[in-house]
Symmetry: C2
Subunit: 342 residues, 2 copies
């Protein structure tokens, strides 16, 4: 299969640089949560307020702990590596620790880092490189079943929801694969396609390659990207939706997200039923029986009581399972999904 494969040697040191907030640390947070067994520690600049709860390490600590790879856990604005990070990353590479990142700026394009890695015999791995020779999408229906996470916006829990649903299906003994579409998902799963780094003409073709023909009772649980509502990334989201041809979608949302992130409130998030209806309208152009299996909402900002009320009201309103993937888990969505497919 023509997917991007990465095999990062554990244990990892998660590098946060001067990451200003949790949003931008989602790569580090995702790896720490889903692959805790591989994470030995974290390294930050003194100004960084984000704490993944891992042991703080110096370069010497990392060497002593046998760290094999430092993983850049931040997605800075513009996808470029700030100059302030270079001394620490170079020192690690010179000490023989491999460096991995999934930014638009390639590690191999940084001569100082390349030199440091050569000196320390460290390997530099750029994760956000799509496979070569992707085909144009065809629209051909494939065997097997697919469920795609869609979002009201970026960074609302699509990856988390997909991984949690995949784990829930596996727990029940149902054949399932997590299909990563972004750099963090690829580092967690070891393979996938960074769909936002693909040339535009090949978005749906890449999505078709990512979830190929499979057993009739096999589920591909596909990580979403962006949002159909996001003025920056909607093209990626529609190409992924059409290429995935999902049997079902899950809408992911963050209860605090009132408008599209970074647009000064210019693009308010519509009511969730409207978001679902619009997405299904798009999805059904390619597979006319696509349905919504539930809504997965980050409610970490709410009290327990408020969360319970919010989810129960939303569930009543939408007539669909509404969960917080961390607090209540994905079981109700898995139930709904399996009950509505044969």
């Amino acid at each position: 299969m023509l997917v991007t494969k990465v095999n990062l040697e554990a244990p990892y040191l998660l590098y946060l640089g001067n990451c200003p907030d949790w949003h931008h640390a989602k790569t580090g947070a995702g790896i720490a949560y889903w692959r805790p067994d591989r994470c030995a520690g974290q390294m930050r600049l003194p100004t960084c307020p984000v704490d993944l709860g891992l042991p703080e390490m110096t370069v010497q600590d990392a060497v002593d702990a046998g760290v094999r790879t430092v993983v850049v856990g931040v997605a800075p604005m513009g996808g470029r590596i700030p100059a302030e990070w270079m001394p620490q990353l170079c020192e690690l590479a010179e000490a023989g620790i491999n460096v991995a990142a999934g930014l638009h700026t390639k590690l191999h394009s940084l001569p100082v880092l390349v030199a440091a890695a050569a000196k320390g015999k460290a390997v530099l791995t750029d994760v956000r490189i799509p496979p070569a020779d992707l085909p144009v999408g065809t629209g051909r229906l494939r065997s097997g079943k697919r469920i795609l996470m869609i979002g009201t916006d970026c960074a609302v829990g699509k990856k988390y929801s997909a991984l949690a649903l995949h784990r829930e299906l596996e727990r029940r003994g149902i054949k399932s694969s997590f299909r990563a579409t972004g750099q963090t998902g690829i580092m967690i799963a070891g393979e996938g396609i960074p769909i936002d780094a693909v040339v535009a003409d090949f978005i749906s073709g890449a999505a078709e390659i990512l979830s190929p023909d499979n057993d009739d009772d096999h589920w591909d649980v596909i990580e979403g990207q962006g949002s159909l509502l996001n003025p920056s990334y909607s093209g990626v989201s529609l190409g992924l939706l059409h290429g995935s041809q999902p049997n079902a979608i899950v809408l992911c949302h963050d209860v605090e997200r009132l408008s599209i992130d970074g647009t000064d409130g210019d693009f308010p998030i519509p009511e969730l039923d409207e978001v679902i209806d619009d997405a299904l309208r798009c999805a059904r152009r390619m597979r006319n029986d696509c349905f919504c299996a539930g809504v997965s909402i980050n409610t970490s900002s709410l009290s327990d009581l408020d969360r319970e009320m919010y989810l129960s009201k939303m569930q009543q309103h939408l007539g669909l399972p509404c969960v917080d993937p961390v607090v209540t888990g994905m079981t109700p969505i898995a139930n709904f999904l399996l009950r509505h497919t044969t």
Copy 2:
């Protein structure tokens, strides 16, 4: 402005290779129609049924006629150059004739052709190269007015309609720019952005760059790409729609196109009012007063009487100007557009 600029030396020889039909010859046909003064002849393989009506030339004819550039006039699916074309293209390059193409396969990636061009001191120009360092889209509303061609499918006359509408606006003394989004449009206009060759994360950002802030009474007439209904290219189309933030759209269609090209009838084209409503629903997420200014339909397969009946029935049904851009022209759409904007 960060757009792709090309300056191809005329006169041109239009190369058709073994192009199977008019659909795939749209680059050659577009240049022959819109820039007839620059076209000296055509060259084809014996199996090619498409005839642009230009003088047939051998390599020696082209040299004798002072041809400066051979332009690949075919867009094969997936954008790769078939091996059968190479002998003729190499012979032309060796004879000192520059080669230009707008395919995904870069001329510079073909060692045999590069060697031939070096021998003949010919220049190879790849038109489908997006500008470097494109920004991510922001969704910020820009000054000036914009109208975008959308299609029921690929190759239904979006470029032709945009160029004809631009010419009609200029004829009336209205400030207007044609904004090319594909290789043919770029070769005709001399600049633009090949939006389908941009990295997926930057589609709407590229569209924002292509039609920057302008005078309040200036129209950008933006060539569309693909179709929201096309399983291969819908992501490109939505990113372009959202990044363009058009005041108005024109739906382009071919009366013979009953289902999406190349999908064996699996994806029938819906009724045109449904296509318009869906597109406006998407467009209004970014600009809530976007409207449809008319429908531009290729009716070349109909008799004069059938065309008249078809367009008049459709116009009655949709309540919008319905034209054939070649036969009846874009005047009714320009009238509707200008009457509905202030």
